[in-house]
């Protein structure tokens, strides 16, 4: 199958992944657009026979991270790690369990970026831990620990009082 055709087939999933990362439909499609443009420009870097989807997800995720960092420097968003993690990490435990019942977007928004991307890859996109680690270019142990934290926060916010 041609490179472009494979990418077209990937688009519905890629849009979902981008939606989860950016939490905004327009931002998500902007991200997809940037990712496709990047992929077309660097297509010779993709090795035939390796997985195009993993490669595409990696490009998308890296562009998103770049954008978050740039926005952070411009002061548009809070810096990735500090403020957001405080709200999400420690703050979440103080919030009453089940506060956000049914509000998946709201709960996902409480997650730090590095947890949200793992949650999307494993729990929504269905990648194995090893595959997610390859996409994110981190050790598998990093994937499992971030996933565990993200998952606990989500279950706490969305679930029944323990």
């Amino acid at each position: 199958m041609r490179f472009e055709e494979e990418l077209v087939e990937l688009l519905p999933r890629l849009r979902r992944f981008a939606r989860g990362l950016t939490r905004d439909p327009n931002d998500a499609d902007d991200l997809c657009q940037a990712a496709i443009e990047r992929a077309l420009k660097s297509r010779e870097q993709w090795q035939q026979g390796t997985r195009l989807d993993s490669w595409m997800y990696r490009i998308t995720r890296n562009l998103w991270i770049d954008d978050r960092r740039a926005a952070g420097r411009r002061g548009v968003h809070a810096p990735i790690d500090d403020a957001v993690t405080q709200i999400a990490g420690d703050g979440a435990a103080e919030v009453e369990a089940g506060t956000l019942r049914g509000d998946v977007d709201g709960a996902m928004a409480r997650l730090p970026d590095e947890q949200r991307e793992v949650v999307m890859l494993v729990l929504v996109e269905g990648y194995a831990y090893r595959e997610a680690a390859d996409i994110l270019e981190v050790p598998i142990g990093t994937v499992t620990s971030r996933l565990a934290r993200g998952r606990e926060t989500l279950m706490h916010l969305l679930g029944e009082a323990a």
Partner: protein, 230 residues
Amino acid sequence: MSFDPATIAAFVDGELDDLTARRIEREAESDAALAAEIARHRTLRTQLMAHFAPVVEEPVPDRLRALLVDDRVDTSLADRREAKRTRFAPIHWGAIAASLALGLTVGLQPWMPAADVTSANGTLVASGTLAKALDTQLASNQPANATVRIGLSFRDRDGSYCRSFQAKDLAGIGCRNGDRWTLERTMGAETHGDYRQASSGALAADAAAMMAGDPLDAAAERAARDKSWK
């Protein structure tokens, strides 16, 4: 509960070897806390999948498609016929269901509607061919070439009927909820490239963990079907 949280999570994510998975499943039968923890993790997975599934069904915006597809090229009549034929060819339900549930895009085309799995109130529900198979097909008497193969039928702890199924691209367990089948468990069924395989062992382990009592035998399965799984 003798399993740590990471192991329980890995069990739910299908990341454990078969031996450990079976140990957890056996222990869950008698350990209510473990069973509840497994259910809590599954609920989150289903909730997230159902929440994001509709994005895959949306038409891809033209501005994205246009980067990859040159629609201006005037294709030959034969090409156009072929395109038309492809567009209206029977939809392979399994591929679409799997792409909804698991994020695979095997055979998925942007213009195709979702066929056999839909989401309702945040949960995945069987429809079309899958719903029909779960409604009517008997494990004891199914055609060799059936699109959907029914595995075990059983009652869960709430007394609802559940049935495990396997199709070309999707396997899972559907439980009767009113007049629908809620998909309590879904996994990819067949290899496509390196996609994760769902072994029938993992599915059987899930069924065993959900089951109250024994699976239905052929007579009980038929009787339950004849009463519309009520």
